[in-house]
Subunit: 323 residues, 2 copies
């Protein structure tokens, strides 16, 4: 089997060679722009690595890997409209660059392109893979709707939050992993276990994302504290709200829109409360717990342990266990 | 085979029994609202009637028929955002009732639901039907983009306009008809001919829609002259622009935004030019031509003539030949 670098470059090649017509230009140019935007290609890597657990001929999984990545990028296009986000991976978002209508319609075309790639999987596997993809895609939409619902809600519980990110983030990782396993010829039982693995990994991954947004990491090119400034209900915020007394809660609720504070002060105020309530350590515990559950599920697959080694070390590279 | 009324009620039943979860409410309620909005179910009827040319067991085509109708309604949801349209079939559009973000995300979920319905077609047919559906869906997006492009363009030719409506309107009718034929077991050659039939029928249908918008018809519940008031580049407008002298052209270009005119006066001015240039008769000729071509293609199928009778009379019911 190829190295991760080789897999990644096979994915990039496959994405780069998707044929888009030149016209209508405003429909297709944003798709190419979006797919060339990089990212770590986490989801297609999961497709390839999951296939590799069950077969040495992983090339057959490339169209499905590309389909999952194109779908993911479609969700970013539409999410950026809904979130009014002008920057994506350090470049103007499609929404900011071409406007709302182009972002809506190119996004639609992109979702269709994802299904077109999916239709290239081996025909006998298509019904099962299409069903898995559809269920995954709907879950992602449900997660995005809950995320928007939370903006309007006064109080969100940790359980509700975990359910939301399981849909919005983990479902796509789980779908990718199961689809890869199906291409590799996995049994139903192994697919079920890999789904569990990826759901837990996704939760660890999203919670780490929440933690890094406020506590930073040199690997990320983003500014620190974005979630705090937006008043976003992240795992940190929700946990802090559930542990704070009323005066602290009031600060958590209002700091981000307090015009008398600078951005740095807003961030410092909120983080002081997080720190006092031990929130970063609690988040780190949750990340560790979810990650260990994920790895434990990987042990239960019906294959020799050596076959899961690549997936295990890839998962480890995603989650920083030293914090 | 059942009567058209029975087919229609089978379609309505199938649409009504699609299971949507109750939550998240803002994701799923608009889908139910949109699908309950009625319309003549033209596209699923084409699926069923096309299947009926080749088999007496048309029930198998119901999921595909529902998929095409759900996809059509998805396009309306997103088109209404892009066109800023607040009314759809006499009721508030999803966009007007729930806002832009809900219309984007519910539309996305609706497209996924269309693919979920499609995945219920008999497995051996799925690769071919999925490919047909994907190609059709992309064409519809291309048509919508060209339609938006035309709003910004000074001059649109009749050829460009016909190409646009072939993508935006006819492609969906053609996809529906071919998918129905595939479920019925049609040969590749018969599918190709039925595609031609539906493309021509779609052009006749859209040109008739353009004509009725300005010249009215008691069957339609809409106000007359909407296209003129929006300054839309319809077949009538484009044909008139290509035949008018410069003073008339100036009126055609500017009447809809002339603040000194009432709506009725704007409509009357433009229609006076249409009439003087014989535009309604030219449109009627085009409709007739396209419709006759469609019927002629139907004659060339490899089945007994009696099997195409239902489709022929349904097509006749769509196009008013007496004008």
């Amino acid at each position: 089997m190829q190295t991760n670098e080789q897999l990644l470059s096979a994915i990039e090649n496959h994405l780069a060679q998707i044929g888009f017509p030149a016209e209508p230009q405003l429909l297709y140019a944003p798709i190419g722009y979006s797919l060339a935007g990089g990212g770590k290609r986490l989801r297609p890597m999961l497709v390839m690595l999951a296939a590799g657990i069950f077969t040495d001929r992983v090339q057959a999984a490339l169209p499905a890997a590309a389909a999952v990545e194109v779908f993911h990028n479609f969700t970013l296009l539409h999410d950026d409209i809904m979130d009014n986000a002008s920057i994506r991976r350090g470049k103007p978002s499609v929404y900011a660059r071409w406007g709302q209508n182009v972002a809506i319609l190119s996004g639609d075309a992109m979702m269709i392109c994802a299904y077109r790639l999916l239709s290239e999987v081996p025909a006998p596997l298509l019904p099962e893979i299409l069903s898995t993809f559809n269920a995954m895609a709907l879950e992602v939409c449900e997660g995005q709707q809950y995320d928007m619902d939370f903006e309007q809600k006064q109080k969100v519980s940790v359980v509700e939050y975990m359910h939301m990110i399981e849909l919005k983030t983990s479902a796509l990782l789980a779908g990718a992993t199961v689809i890869g396993a199906l291409v590799g010829g996995a049994s139903e039982e192994d697919c079920r276990r890999l789904r569990r693995f990826a759901l837990e990994l996704g939760l660890a991954f999203q919670l780490q994302d929440d933690l890094l947004d406020s506590y930073g990491d040199e690997r990320l090119g983003k500014a620190i504290g974005g979630d705090i400034l937006e008043g976003k209900k992240t795992y940190l915020m929700i946990t802090a709200m559930s542990r704070a007394d009323e005066p602290a809660r009031e600060v958590l609720r209002t700091a981000h829109r307090d015009a008398s504070l600078s951005d740095a002060e807003k961030i410092a105020r909120v983080k002081a409360i997080y720190d006092a309530l031990d929130v970063p350590r609690l988040a780190q515990q949750q990340i560790q717990l979810r990650f260990e559950r994920a790895l434990a599920v990987l042990e239960t697959l019906s294959v020799e342990r050596a076959r899961t080694e690549r997936m295990r070390s890839y998962a480890e590279s995603l989650i920083d266990r030293k914090r």
